[in-house]
Amino acid sequence: MDYFAEKKYYDVIIIGGGITGAGTARDCAMRGLKTLLVERFDFTAGATGRNHGLLHSGARYAVTDKESASECITENMILRRIARHCVEDTGGLFVTLQDDDLGYQAKFVESCRASGINAEVIDPAEARRLEPAVNPGIIGAVRVPDGAVDPFRLTISNVVDAVRNGADVLTFHEVQSLIIVGGKVVGVRMLDKRGKREVEAYSSLVINAAGIWGYLVAKKAGITINMFPAKGALLIFGHRINNMVINRCRKPADADILVPGDTISLIGTTSSRVPYEDIDNMRVTRDEVDVLLREGSLIAPVLANTRIIRAYAGVRPLVAADNDPSGRSISRGIVCLDHASRDGLDGFITITGGKLMTYRLMAEKAVDMACAKLGRNAVCRTAETMLPGSDDMPGYNVKKDCCGGLLPDQQSAVRAATGRHGSLSRHIVCDKESDRAVVCECEQVSVGEIRYAMDQLHADRLVSLRRRTRLGMGTCQGELCACRAAGVMAALGKDPVSTLADLKSFIAERWKGMEAVAWGDTLAEAQLMEWLYVGMCGLDRVPGLSYSKKQ
């Protein structure tokens, strides 16, 4: 049935399927607002899927940005509770290297405490014992409650909860314009990218939660938000080399955070202003790789000899305050704009600034404003209510409840699925032996998990499947699993012709991330991948997206 056969009316339309949009949709829906979430590509396709995955304690901002620091530690404690299946309590270290100023440590610790962050100075020997990957030459160490958070899981869990509370979601719908009647935004006109047609939806209020793309959304209504697109590049290492977050105890700079994220480790970031024309096509440069590797191997020397499987970059949606060329000194604070009072355009709110860590608080602020404007009197409950996947965890029997009881010899796949989906993994049906077949071996993704992601997590192409399950995120970067997964998707009802084009664009996207670090084993892997997909399967003859072959 055609969704747009009749006119659609909502209380709120939210633009942007990143963590901010998903969190805002959840909050709206939980407060009883009739909600539509619109995303032009797939969930987590923007900056949400391109960051460190760091569960900030706030310590990083304690010295320079006290407000952000306090927000971080509060939200850190909330996420540990409501999103425990997305969070790993690794703990974090702030280390002082030989050439760094140890005097900064005292100021750092004092600032942390002032923001309510539990920062404990420990002996460098103790730090080396806790985290053997740390540079053995450190002269100072502080322990903080940092952790790791999976932004993909966190976002989709918010989406699942929004839908449970009655929200509608549309992916691959790009907002073309805001429908403005008598100085009030009353809806959005969208391009349905799959149906290739224009559709409309109406609402009392539109919330712009599109991150850096929010600048472009506001521009469609003739409104200028002075934003600062700050590119941040990161490198992914092939396996975990550290089990605690390692930060460098100095004023925030390039490549001073090493995060253990799921099966890999991540060093980042850089910060540089980029033009709006480039924000849809970020490429990591050679200089960025060099600085990340050089600085990164100062905090953990083993990085110098560890295989890098991928490089990527995201764009921070900073709201410009001055003309800082790097954006390092711009506040990560939350900006919630009521365009009625600011620009005389009613029915339009922009929520931006902030960061992954504070998405829930951003959503709360935006929805508080929305409720005030709509005259609704509903209280925010997102800080207390568990996210799907983190609920009913106690007494949850992995073996019994997950995947319909996989074979004992496939327990590692069960554990991997449970690790990813928490208690939601009980929806993964693996009754038949064919359901239990492992598709992605690096990340242990089964056929049953793919079907679950397709049926219940809005995954209808390979890249979405990757974001929902980690398929293709491992060492081989999709070399073995991409064609298998494409086959599974086609077998589960996806059109084979478009699946083939999808496979081609997926492989091209994997190569894009390998290109910047194409030496040694990663180059060999890319070559093997090319032999398989181009030499053997003839993927270059498939019509569709053209891809740049690696050098």
Binding site: H239, S297, T306, R307, G474, T475, G520, E525
Partner: protein
């Protein structure tokens, strides 16, 4: 920064894995047991998860034979078998059962059994005893235990050989291992016969222990480490004090002492590793360089099929045994395609593995039947047990065949001993 990213430095070359999966194609267990995830998944793939959290360790790793065919197959130098064995050592919560301890303690059990060899051999071949062991401790009733010898090899050496050894100008120390000591002293006597004929005196190591391979396989890591350290002390004494290189007749003992000590047990052997050698490689290298000469009887006529043990393939030394056997003029040698026999030390004795053990070995058994030799030659005692139990053919170590075919007088003459 110089040297950055010039080489990778992961343990057991974990991250050189390109996921090509050729290791799994060569894994004998994956081929017959779908319950085993194979060396790629159990090795480098699984290790990434175990590095994240040890809870991802999976007891299915115990199904690995540690035959190391995956390591031979890998084009990128990854050591999946070592990754798997190291994970078992680090994470397994399975404690060795009484059976595992008995099977692993080849030296302790051998020491007792040798004293009462006729009784033990008789008992172990009785059907009711086999059924009892099957039902109680899980040693498969189909298995034949290797017979224990009534006399230890070292007893024979002290009585018959010791006196004459110092008369030679060149010397080696012989690591006999548990099999020669308790089950088959003849192999040790054969080695002494050959070495003496080419001008080498054969001595015992002072304080030799079991190499420990069975203890590693059965999770008795503390005991294995103690044995390894004692053995390395003994080897060092031999190499540095007595100036004698160490030679063994079992390919598995050699592999264990050369590679597993440092890779799995963390026992440093780097100073003496190159002085731990296999008898056929030692002899062939000397023949090849012209340092010794061997003469064979003209009337020794035999069809021999040579089976390369998996550990011999891992060492890359099969060529030495083959080349020596080829020197025997009346010997028609058939080098079999390298296959795993399925025994893998104590693995095949266990009730839960028996079925897979036999299924793995079937190709080899068929190839041997097709070759129909007078005798099968192989450098590994457990391959010998498996082939002798599963086929009608007799199996000998190449050293024993060489000793049989040796023209002692002529050889002594050629080496200037008379």
């Amino acid at each position: 920064m110089t040297g950055i990213q010039e080489k990778t430095a992961s343990v057991n070359n974990l991250e050189e894995c390109l996921k090509c999966t050729v290791c799994t194609v060569y894994c004998p267990v994956t081929a017959v047991n779908p319950g085993y995830p194979g060396p790629k998944q159990a090795g480098p793939d699984g290790e990434r998860y175990r590095l994240k959290n040890s809870a991802y360790y999976d007891e299915s790793l115990r199904k690995c034979l540690n035959c190391k065919r995956c390591e031979v197959a890998c084009p990128s130098g990854v050591r999946p078998a070592d990754i798997i064995q190291a994970a078992r050592i680090r994470y397994s919560k399975h404690s060795p059962s009484l059976r595992d301890r008995l099977l692993a303690s080849t030296d302790f059990v051998g020491g007792i059994a040798t004293v009462m060899a006729p009784i033990v051999n008789g008992m172990l071949s009785l059907r009711p005893v086999k059924v009892l062991m099957d039902k109680t401790i899980g040693v498969d009733a189909h298995r034949q235990f290797p017979a224990y010898s009534g006399e230890k090899f070292t007893t024979w050496w002290h009585r018959e050989a010791e006196k004459g050894q110092s008369a030679f100008s060149k010397h080696i120390s012989y690591f006999h291992g548990c099999y020669v000591q308790y089950n088959f002293p003849r192999l040790g006597r054969d080695l002494v016969k050959i070495m003496n004929a080419v001008g080498y005196g054969v001595h015992l190591l002072s304080g030799e222990r079991c190499c420990g391979v069975a203890k590693i396989a059965n999770g008795l890591i503390g005991d294995a480490c103690r044995d390894a350290q004692r053995n390395m002390e003994a080897v060092r004494r031999s190499v540095f004090k007595e100036n004698r290189t160490v030679v063994a007749t079992s390919s598995t003992c050699v592999l264990t002492m050369r590679d597993e000590y440092s890779e799995l047990l963390g026992v440093d052997n780097s100073d003496v590793r190159s002085n731990i050698n296999l008898a056929t490689r030692f002899l062939h290298t000397l023949v090849d360089s012209g340092e010794i000469k061997i003469a064979f009887r003209k009337d020794y006529l035999k069809n021999v099929a040579y089976h390369t043990p998996c550990h011999m393939a891992r060492l890359g030394w099969g060529v030495h045994s083959v080349e020596l056997l080829k020197m025997i003029p009346g010997l028609n040698l058939n080098v079999l395609q390298q296959e795993c026999c399925g025994m893998s030390g104590t693995y095949g004795f266990k009730k839960e593995n028996y079925k897979y053990s036999q299924a793995i070995g079937q190709t080899l058994f068929d190839n041997i039947s097709a070759a129909n030799p007078d005798v099968v030659a192989t450098d590994c005692e457990t391959c010998k047990w498996q082939i002798e139990m599963s086929t009608p053919y007799k199996v000998l170590n190449p050293v024993s065949i060489i000793a049989e075919a040796l023209d002692v007088d002529e050889t002594r003459k050629l080496n200037g001993l008379c």
